[in-house]
Symmetry: C2
Subunit: 195 residues, 2 copies
Protein backbone atom coordinates (compact mmCIF):
# COMPACT_ATOMS: atom_id res chain seq x y z
CA UNK A 1 0.00 0.00 0.00
CA UNK A 2 2.90 2.37 0.71
CA UNK A 3 4.10 1.87 -2.84
CA UNK A 4 0.63 2.56 -4.21
CA UNK A 5 0.34 5.70 -2.09
CA UNK A 6 3.70 6.88 -3.36
CA UNK A 7 2.45 6.38 -6.93
CA UNK A 8 -0.70 8.42 -6.17
CA UNK A 9 1.38 11.18 -4.64
CA UNK A 10 3.93 11.45 -7.45
CA UNK A 11 1.26 11.15 -10.13
CA UNK A 12 -0.78 13.90 -8.45
CA UNK A 13 2.24 16.19 -8.25
CA UNK A 14 2.90 15.67 -11.97
CA UNK A 15 -0.77 16.18 -12.88
CA UNK A 16 -0.82 19.47 -10.94
CA UNK A 17 2.39 20.62 -12.59
CA UNK A 18 1.67 19.55 -16.18
CA UNK A 19 -2.06 18.84 -16.34
CA UNK A 20 -3.57 15.38 -16.79
CA UNK A 21 -2.78 15.23 -20.51
CA UNK A 22 0.76 16.50 -19.96
CA UNK A 23 1.72 13.93 -17.31
CA UNK A 24 2.56 10.71 -19.15
CA UNK A 25 2.70 7.23 -17.63
CA UNK A 26 6.43 7.22 -18.50
CA UNK A 27 6.96 10.42 -16.46
CA UNK A 28 5.04 8.94 -13.54
CA UNK A 29 7.04 5.69 -13.72
CA UNK A 30 10.32 7.65 -13.61
CA UNK A 31 9.09 9.74 -10.65
CA UNK A 32 8.37 6.62 -8.57
CA UNK A 33 11.45 4.69 -9.73
CA UNK A 34 9.60 2.04 -11.72
CA UNK A 35 9.79 0.90 -15.31
CA UNK A 36 6.67 1.64 -17.33
CA UNK A 37 5.82 -2.10 -17.25
CA UNK A 38 6.33 -2.02 -13.48
CA UNK A 39 3.88 0.89 -13.16
CA UNK A 40 1.29 -1.04 -15.21
CA UNK A 41 1.57 -3.81 -12.64
CA UNK A 42 -0.13 -1.42 -10.19
CA UNK A 43 -2.62 0.34 -12.47
CA UNK A 44 -4.10 -0.66 -15.82
CA UNK A 45 -4.44 2.82 -17.40
CA UNK A 46 -3.80 6.50 -16.75
CA UNK A 47 -7.53 7.15 -16.37
CA UNK A 48 -7.79 4.31 -13.84
CA UNK A 49 -4.88 5.83 -11.96
CA UNK A 50 -6.62 9.23 -11.83
CA UNK A 51 -9.85 7.58 -10.66
CA UNK A 52 -8.00 5.68 -7.90
CA UNK A 53 -6.35 8.94 -6.81
CA UNK A 54 -9.77 10.60 -6.61
CA UNK A 55 -11.21 7.68 -4.58
CA UNK A 56 -8.22 7.76 -2.25
CA UNK A 57 -8.39 11.55 -1.89
CA UNK A 58 -12.12 11.53 -1.17
CA UNK A 59 -11.70 8.69 1.37
CA UNK A 60 -8.99 10.72 3.07
CA UNK A 61 -11.19 13.83 3.14
CA UNK A 62 -14.03 11.78 4.60
CA UNK A 63 -11.74 10.23 7.21
CA UNK A 64 -9.73 13.33 8.15
CA UNK A 65 -12.42 16.01 7.90
CA UNK A 66 -15.99 14.80 7.47
CA UNK A 67 -16.10 12.02 10.10
CA UNK A 68 -14.56 14.17 12.87
CA UNK A 69 -16.89 17.04 11.90
CA UNK A 70 -19.97 14.81 12.09
CA UNK A 71 -18.84 13.69 15.55
CA UNK A 72 -19.24 17.31 16.75
CA UNK A 73 -22.79 18.08 17.84
CA UNK A 74 -22.25 21.83 18.22
CA UNK A 75 -22.38 23.52 14.77
CA UNK A 76 -19.90 26.29 15.67
CA UNK A 77 -17.31 23.75 16.81
CA UNK A 78 -18.13 21.59 13.78
CA UNK A 79 -17.40 24.47 11.40
CA UNK A 80 -14.08 25.16 13.07
CA UNK A 81 -13.17 21.45 12.91
CA UNK A 82 -13.98 21.43 9.18
CA UNK A 83 -11.83 24.47 8.40
CA UNK A 84 -8.81 23.49 10.49
CA UNK A 85 -8.82 19.85 9.41
CA UNK A 86 -9.41 20.59 5.74
CA UNK A 87 -6.53 23.09 5.67
CA UNK A 88 -4.31 20.42 7.21
CA UNK A 89 -5.60 17.86 4.70
CA UNK A 90 -4.81 20.13 1.76
CA UNK A 91 -1.42 21.25 2.96
CA UNK A 92 -0.33 17.82 4.19
CA UNK A 93 -0.28 16.92 7.85
CA UNK A 94 2.92 14.92 7.90
CA UNK A 95 5.04 16.78 5.39
CA UNK A 96 6.07 20.39 5.05
CA UNK A 97 4.88 20.35 1.44
CA UNK A 98 1.38 20.65 0.08
CA UNK A 99 -0.52 17.40 -0.38
CA UNK A 100 -0.96 16.95 -4.15
CA UNK A 101 -3.61 14.24 -3.74
CA UNK A 102 -5.96 16.56 -1.81
CA UNK A 103 -5.59 19.18 -4.53
CA UNK A 104 -6.01 16.86 -7.51
CA UNK A 105 -9.49 15.84 -6.33
CA UNK A 106 -10.50 19.33 -7.40
CA UNK A 107 -9.18 18.83 -10.95
CA UNK A 108 -11.84 16.63 -12.58
CA UNK A 109 -10.38 16.87 -16.10
CA UNK A 110 -9.47 13.38 -17.32
CA UNK A 111 -12.23 11.36 -15.59
CA UNK A 112 -14.92 9.64 -17.66
CA UNK A 113 -18.38 11.28 -17.29
CA UNK A 114 -19.69 8.39 -15.17
CA UNK A 115 -16.79 8.41 -12.75
CA UNK A 116 -16.89 12.18 -12.61
CA UNK A 117 -20.56 12.06 -11.58
CA UNK A 118 -19.68 9.59 -8.82
CA UNK A 119 -16.87 11.79 -7.44
CA UNK A 120 -19.03 14.93 -7.79
CA UNK A 121 -21.77 13.26 -5.72
CA UNK A 122 -19.30 12.55 -2.91
CA UNK A 123 -18.04 16.13 -3.06
CA UNK A 124 -21.61 17.38 -2.91
CA UNK A 125 -22.12 15.59 0.40
CA UNK A 126 -19.22 17.58 1.83
CA UNK A 127 -20.64 20.81 0.42
CA UNK A 128 -24.03 19.92 1.98
CA UNK A 129 -22.39 19.32 5.36
CA UNK A 130 -20.87 22.82 5.34
CA UNK A 131 -24.09 24.43 4.13
CA UNK A 132 -26.21 22.55 6.70
CA UNK A 133 -23.80 23.61 9.44
CA UNK A 134 -24.19 27.25 8.39
CA UNK A 135 -27.97 26.90 8.27
CA UNK A 136 -27.95 25.41 11.78
CA UNK A 137 -25.87 28.37 13.00
CA UNK A 138 -28.28 30.73 11.31
CA UNK A 139 -31.25 29.07 13.05
CA UNK A 140 -29.51 29.68 16.37
CA UNK A 141 -28.93 33.33 15.52
CA UNK A 142 -25.15 32.93 15.45
CA UNK A 143 -24.88 33.63 11.74
CA UNK A 144 -26.30 36.81 10.15
CA UNK A 145 -29.80 36.17 8.77
CA UNK A 146 -28.99 37.79 5.40
CA UNK A 147 -26.07 35.41 4.74
CA UNK A 148 -26.56 32.98 1.87
CA UNK A 149 -25.27 29.57 3.09
CA UNK A 150 -24.43 28.38 -0.43
CA UNK A 151 -22.21 31.35 -1.28
CA UNK A 152 -20.59 31.17 2.16
CA UNK A 153 -19.94 27.41 1.81
CA UNK A 154 -18.23 27.94 -1.56
CA UNK A 155 -16.21 30.79 -0.07
CA UNK A 156 -15.04 28.52 2.74
CA UNK A 157 -13.99 25.74 0.35
CA UNK A 158 -12.30 28.20 -2.02
CA UNK A 159 -10.39 29.87 0.80
CA UNK A 160 -9.14 26.49 2.04
CA UNK A 161 -8.17 25.15 -1.40
CA UNK A 162 -6.39 28.42 -2.21
CA UNK A 163 -4.06 27.95 0.77
CA UNK A 164 -2.33 25.18 -1.20
CA UNK A 165 -1.46 27.72 -3.90
CA UNK A 166 0.12 30.43 -1.82
CA UNK A 167 1.43 28.87 1.36
CA UNK A 168 5.18 28.26 1.38
CA UNK A 169 6.60 25.57 3.71
CA UNK A 170 9.21 28.03 5.01
CA UNK A 171 6.88 31.02 5.06
CA UNK A 172 6.66 33.42 7.99
CA UNK A 173 3.40 32.00 9.35
CA UNK A 174 2.98 28.49 10.75
CA UNK A 175 0.10 26.36 9.56
CA UNK A 176 -1.66 26.93 12.89
CA UNK A 177 -1.29 30.70 12.55
CA UNK A 178 -2.74 30.57 9.02
CA UNK A 179 -5.65 28.43 10.29
CA UNK A 180 -6.24 30.82 13.20
CA UNK A 181 -6.38 33.75 10.80
CA UNK A 182 -8.78 32.03 8.42
CA UNK A 183 -11.05 30.78 11.20
CA UNK A 184 -10.98 34.27 12.75
CA UNK A 185 -11.92 36.05 9.52
CA UNK A 186 -14.52 33.46 8.71
CA UNK A 187 -16.27 33.39 12.06
CA UNK A 188 -16.43 37.15 12.39
CA UNK A 189 -17.64 37.36 8.77
CA UNK A 190 -20.42 34.88 9.49
CA UNK A 191 -21.47 36.51 12.73
CA UNK A 192 -21.48 40.05 11.48
CA UNK A 193 -21.33 43.30 13.45
CA UNK A 194 -24.12 42.36 15.88
CA UNK A 195 -22.32 39.38 17.47
CA UNK B 1 -7.95 42.43 -32.86
CA UNK B 2 -11.37 40.78 -32.52
CA UNK B 3 -10.00 37.68 -34.22
CA UNK B 4 -6.99 37.63 -31.90
CA UNK B 5 -9.25 38.01 -28.85
CA UNK B 6 -11.38 35.15 -30.08
CA UNK B 7 -8.24 32.99 -30.36
CA UNK B 8 -7.23 33.93 -26.79
CA UNK B 9 -10.69 33.10 -25.52
CA UNK B 10 -11.03 29.72 -27.24
CA UNK B 11 -7.44 28.74 -26.41
CA UNK B 12 -8.02 29.66 -22.74
CA UNK B 13 -11.20 27.59 -22.61
CA UNK B 14 -9.34 24.58 -24.04
CA UNK B 15 -6.38 25.07 -21.67
CA UNK B 16 -8.75 25.16 -18.69
CA UNK B 17 -10.55 22.06 -19.90
CA UNK B 18 -7.56 19.95 -20.94
CA UNK B 19 -4.51 21.60 -19.39
CA UNK B 20 -1.81 23.40 -21.39
CA UNK B 21 -0.16 20.17 -22.58
CA UNK B 22 -3.53 18.65 -23.50
CA UNK B 23 -4.72 21.57 -25.65
CA UNK B 24 -3.01 21.22 -29.02
CA UNK B 25 -2.62 23.96 -31.63
CA UNK B 26 -4.78 21.79 -33.93
CA UNK B 27 -7.61 21.78 -31.33
CA UNK B 28 -7.32 25.54 -30.90
CA UNK B 29 -7.38 26.08 -34.67
CA UNK B 30 -10.56 23.99 -34.98
CA UNK B 31 -12.20 25.90 -32.11
CA UNK B 32 -11.65 29.25 -33.84
CA UNK B 33 -12.44 27.98 -37.34
CA UNK B 34 -8.92 28.32 -38.72
CA UNK B 35 -6.54 25.89 -40.36
CA UNK B 36 -3.44 25.16 -38.31
CA UNK B 37 -1.41 27.24 -40.80
CA UNK B 38 -3.96 30.03 -40.40
CA UNK B 39 -3.53 29.94 -36.62
CA UNK B 40 0.26 30.18 -37.02
CA UNK B 41 -0.34 33.38 -38.96
CA UNK B 42 -1.45 34.94 -35.66
CA UNK B 43 0.96 33.29 -33.19
CA UNK B 44 4.33 31.66 -33.71
CA UNK B 45 4.11 28.93 -31.02
CA UNK B 46 1.83 27.53 -28.32
CA UNK B 47 4.03 29.00 -25.60
CA UNK B 48 3.89 32.42 -27.28
CA UNK B 49 0.11 32.10 -27.42
CA UNK B 50 -0.05 31.35 -23.69
CA UNK B 51 2.24 34.29 -22.95
CA UNK B 52 0.09 36.64 -25.07
CA UNK B 53 -3.02 35.39 -23.23
CA UNK B 54 -1.33 36.14 -19.90
CA UNK B 55 -0.31 39.64 -21.05
CA UNK B 56 -3.82 40.32 -22.32
CA UNK B 57 -5.41 38.95 -19.12
CA UNK B 58 -3.13 41.01 -16.89
CA UNK B 59 -3.77 44.16 -18.96
CA UNK B 60 -7.49 43.54 -18.61
CA UNK B 61 -7.19 43.05 -14.85
CA UNK B 62 -5.16 46.26 -14.61
CA UNK B 63 -7.71 48.16 -16.72
CA UNK B 64 -10.91 46.71 -15.23
CA UNK B 65 -9.89 46.36 -11.59
CA UNK B 66 -6.59 47.96 -10.58
CA UNK B 67 -6.94 51.36 -12.29
CA UNK B 68 -10.49 52.02 -10.97
CA UNK B 69 -9.37 50.85 -7.52
CA UNK B 70 -6.39 53.22 -7.51
CA UNK B 71 -8.76 56.06 -8.43
CA UNK B 72 -10.58 55.53 -5.12
CA UNK B 73 -8.97 57.45 -2.26
CA UNK B 74 -11.04 55.84 0.48
CA UNK B 75 -9.63 52.36 1.31
CA UNK B 76 -13.01 50.84 2.26
CA UNK B 77 -14.52 51.89 -1.06
CA UNK B 78 -11.36 50.76 -2.84
CA UNK B 79 -11.64 47.28 -1.37
CA UNK B 80 -15.25 47.00 -2.43
CA UNK B 81 -14.35 48.20 -5.95
CA UNK B 82 -11.63 45.53 -6.14
CA UNK B 83 -13.92 42.69 -5.08
CA UNK B 84 -16.91 43.63 -7.23
CA UNK B 85 -14.84 44.42 -10.32
CA UNK B 86 -12.60 41.37 -10.03
CA UNK B 87 -15.62 39.05 -9.69
CA UNK B 88 -17.05 40.62 -12.83
CA UNK B 89 -13.66 40.27 -14.56
CA UNK B 90 -13.44 36.57 -13.69
CA UNK B 91 -17.01 35.70 -14.55
CA UNK B 92 -17.16 37.81 -17.71
CA UNK B 93 -18.99 41.11 -17.80
CA UNK B 94 -20.49 40.81 -21.24
CA UNK B 95 -21.32 37.13 -21.41
CA UNK B 96 -23.27 34.83 -19.16
CA UNK B 97 -20.33 32.42 -19.11
CA UNK B 98 -17.14 32.58 -17.13
CA UNK B 99 -14.23 34.42 -18.71
CA UNK B 100 -11.58 31.79 -19.47
CA UNK B 101 -8.85 34.39 -20.04
CA UNK B 102 -9.19 35.79 -16.51
CA UNK B 103 -8.90 32.30 -15.10
CA UNK B 104 -5.98 31.12 -17.22
CA UNK B 105 -3.77 33.89 -15.82
CA UNK B 106 -3.78 31.86 -12.63
CA UNK B 107 -2.49 28.71 -14.38
CA UNK B 108 1.21 29.46 -14.88
CA UNK B 109 2.10 25.95 -16.12
CA UNK B 110 3.50 26.19 -19.64
CA UNK B 111 5.30 29.55 -19.38
CA UNK B 112 9.08 29.73 -19.56
CA UNK B 113 10.70 30.62 -16.19
CA UNK B 114 11.58 34.15 -17.40
CA UNK B 115 8.07 34.94 -18.64
CA UNK B 116 6.59 33.39 -15.54
CA UNK B 117 8.69 35.72 -13.36
CA UNK B 118 7.46 38.70 -15.35
CA UNK B 119 3.79 37.70 -14.99
CA UNK B 120 4.30 36.87 -11.31
CA UNK B 121 5.73 40.35 -10.71
CA UNK B 122 2.63 41.96 -12.23
CA UNK B 123 0.39 39.72 -10.12
CA UNK B 124 2.39 40.67 -7.05
CA UNK B 125 1.57 44.35 -7.62
CA UNK B 126 -2.13 43.43 -7.44
CA UNK B 127 -1.57 41.41 -4.28
CA UNK B 128 0.32 44.38 -2.79
CA UNK B 129 -2.55 46.72 -3.63
CA UNK B 130 -5.01 44.54 -1.72
CA UNK B 131 -2.64 44.11 1.20
CA UNK B 132 -1.86 47.84 1.38
CA UNK B 133 -5.57 48.61 1.30
CA UNK B 134 -6.14 46.26 4.25
CA UNK B 135 -3.21 47.81 6.12
CA UNK B 136 -4.65 51.29 5.53
CA UNK B 137 -8.02 50.11 6.90
CA UNK B 138 -6.24 48.62 9.89
CA UNK B 139 -4.45 51.93 10.56
CA UNK B 140 -7.86 53.63 10.61
CA UNK B 141 -9.21 51.06 13.06
CA UNK B 142 -11.74 49.72 10.55
CA UNK B 143 -10.07 46.32 10.32
CA UNK B 144 -9.39 44.18 13.42
CA UNK B 145 -5.82 44.73 14.68
CA UNK B 146 -5.10 40.98 14.93
CA UNK B 147 -5.90 40.40 11.25
CA UNK B 148 -2.93 39.39 9.08
CA UNK B 149 -3.23 41.41 5.83
CA UNK B 150 -1.34 38.80 3.79
CA UNK B 151 -3.61 35.90 4.74
CA UNK B 152 -6.67 38.11 4.25
CA UNK B 153 -5.46 39.27 0.81
CA UNK B 154 -4.96 35.67 -0.33
CA UNK B 155 -8.38 34.77 1.05
CA UNK B 156 -9.95 37.59 -0.95
CA UNK B 157 -8.23 36.52 -4.20
CA UNK B 158 -9.06 32.84 -3.61
CA UNK B 159 -12.70 33.60 -2.88
CA UNK B 160 -12.99 35.63 -6.09
CA UNK B 161 -11.18 33.11 -8.30
CA UNK B 162 -13.28 30.27 -6.86
CA UNK B 163 -16.49 31.95 -8.06
CA UNK B 164 -15.50 30.94 -11.60
CA UNK B 165 -15.58 27.29 -10.52
CA UNK B 166 -18.97 27.12 -8.90
CA UNK B 167 -21.11 29.86 -10.37
CA UNK B 168 -23.59 28.67 -12.99
CA UNK B 169 -24.92 31.18 -15.57
CA UNK B 170 -28.49 30.07 -14.87
CA UNK B 171 -28.01 29.69 -11.14
CA UNK B 172 -30.48 31.03 -8.60
CA UNK B 173 -28.36 34.05 -7.64
CA UNK B 174 -27.48 36.91 -9.96
CA UNK B 175 -23.90 38.07 -10.21
CA UNK B 176 -24.78 41.17 -8.18
CA UNK B 177 -26.32 39.03 -5.44
CA UNK B 178 -23.21 36.85 -5.31
CA UNK B 179 -21.00 39.97 -5.14
CA UNK B 180 -23.19 41.46 -2.39
CA UNK B 181 -22.86 38.25 -0.36
CA UNK B 182 -19.09 38.06 -0.78
CA UNK B 183 -18.57 41.76 0.01
CA UNK B 184 -20.88 41.40 3.04
CA UNK B 185 -19.03 38.36 4.43
CA UNK B 186 -15.71 39.92 3.72
CA UNK B 187 -16.35 43.31 5.25
CA UNK B 188 -17.89 41.94 8.41
CA UNK B 189 -15.04 39.43 8.64
CA UNK B 190 -12.47 42.20 8.38
CA UNK B 191 -14.22 44.47 10.84
CA UNK B 192 -14.88 41.86 13.47
CA UNK B 193 -17.44 41.85 16.30
CA UNK B 194 -16.50 45.31 17.60
CA UNK B 195 -17.57 47.28 14.52
Amino acid sequence: MDRRLQIYREASALILERGFAGASMSDIAVAVGLTKAGLYHFVSSKEDLLYEIMLHGMAKLEHDVIAPALAEADPATRLEVIVRRHIRNVVGADSALRNPISIVIDEPQGLSPERRREIDARKRRYMDLIRDTLTALQARGVVRPELNPTVAAFTIIGTIMWVARWRRPNGRLSLDEISDQIVGNLLSGLRGPAA
